[in-house]
């Protein structure tokens, strides 16, 4: 069944159709949240919250953007709320990439790569919010700058600038 039909049925309260939509998009939503937050456990909770919010807000989704783009907007809002709550509670992650390949594992043949991946994840997690959003959505999801602008709340031009500034900072940090 195609996505628009699933959406119509989910709007009408069809739980099975909604479940199918969740199945179709859960990995993308989870990946985006995990990379943006730098925390896989939190990302799973965020992804769950995103779909619950999406279900109750389905009547507001008019199909002007792709459904996945709309879900990414909700994901970013949910992830921002979680990050702010974490900050208010004074929770500090000592290793921003802790859930990604662990730097503390004993050296082995993969240690160099693991370290590079951990650094990349940690550096990404330290970018300002909009740059992090733009880089994540462009590099991993291949979204256009127009779609990225819709999600992070800025113009297409500003989304492009945020992406380039983010990549530049990562380049400097990772080389």
């Amino acid at each position: 069944m195609d996505e628009s039909r699933l959406l119509d049925r989910a709007r009408a309260g069809d739980q099975a159709a909604f479940g199918e939509l969740v199945r179709l998009h859960r990995e993308a939503v989870y990946r985006f949240a995990a990379r943006w937050l730098g925390d896989a456990d939190l990302a799973l909770d965020v992804a769950q919250d995103v779909f619950v919010r999406a279900f109750s807000g389905l009547k507001h989704y008019r199909g002007e953007s792709r459904f996945r783009t709309w879900l990414f907007s909700i994901t970013l809002n949910a992830a921002r709320s979680v990050a702010r709550r974490r900050k208010r509670r004074g929770e500090v992650r000592l290793d921003t990439g802790a859930d990604f390949p662990d730097l503390r594992t004993p050296p082995d043949t993969k240690a160099g790569r693991a370290e590079a991946f951990a650094r990349a994840a940690a550096e990404l997690a330290t970018l300002p919010e909009k740059q992090r959003g733009a880089v994540t959505l462009r590099v991993y999801e291949g979204l256009s700058f127009r779609e990225i602008g819709e999600i992070i709340g800025c113009s297409e031009v500003a989304a492009r600038v945020n992406y380039h500034h983010g990549i530049q900072k990562l380049r400097e940090a990772l080389t």
């Binding site: 909604f18 992804a47 619950v52 279900f55 109750s56 990604f100 990349a120 880089v135 990549i167 080389t175």
Partner: protein
């Protein structure tokens, strides 16, 4: 085209280029540019590193329960804030207000 503009255009396409999703013409143009531009090569390396950085796969049990958990939670939320619930609440409040009014009016 100035060098900066060229670098910006190449930078736009790096995610698709590194993932092998550009046209043959763009691929040739990007390769030629990268050969002569150390800055863009460094940016391409950063993009490639990011693209290869894995995200942990969720625990299979949690992932398995994810869909049913979401559907149940969404349904609970819908029932909680559904219109019927709201009207039930309004009816209870009105009934209580009438009861209090009648008690004040006739019992005192």
């Amino acid at each position: 085209m100035s060098s900066d503009e060229e670098c910006t255009q190449i930078g736009d396409l790096l995610p698709e280029f590194m993932a092998g999703r550009v046209s043959p013409a763009d691929e040739q143009r990007i390769r030629a540019h990268l050969e002569g531009c150390a800055g863009c090569r460094a940016r391409a390396n950063a993009v490639s590193l990011l693209q290869h950085t894995p995200v942990p796969v969720p625990d299979p049990d949690r992932w398995e329960c994810f869909v049913s958990g979401v559907v149940d939670a969404a349904e609970r939320r819908r029932k909680l804030v559904g219109p019927r619930r709201i009207w039930t609440l309004v009816a209870i409040i009105v009934a209580l207000a009438v009861a209090v009014f009648l008690w004040v009016r006739f019992a005192t």
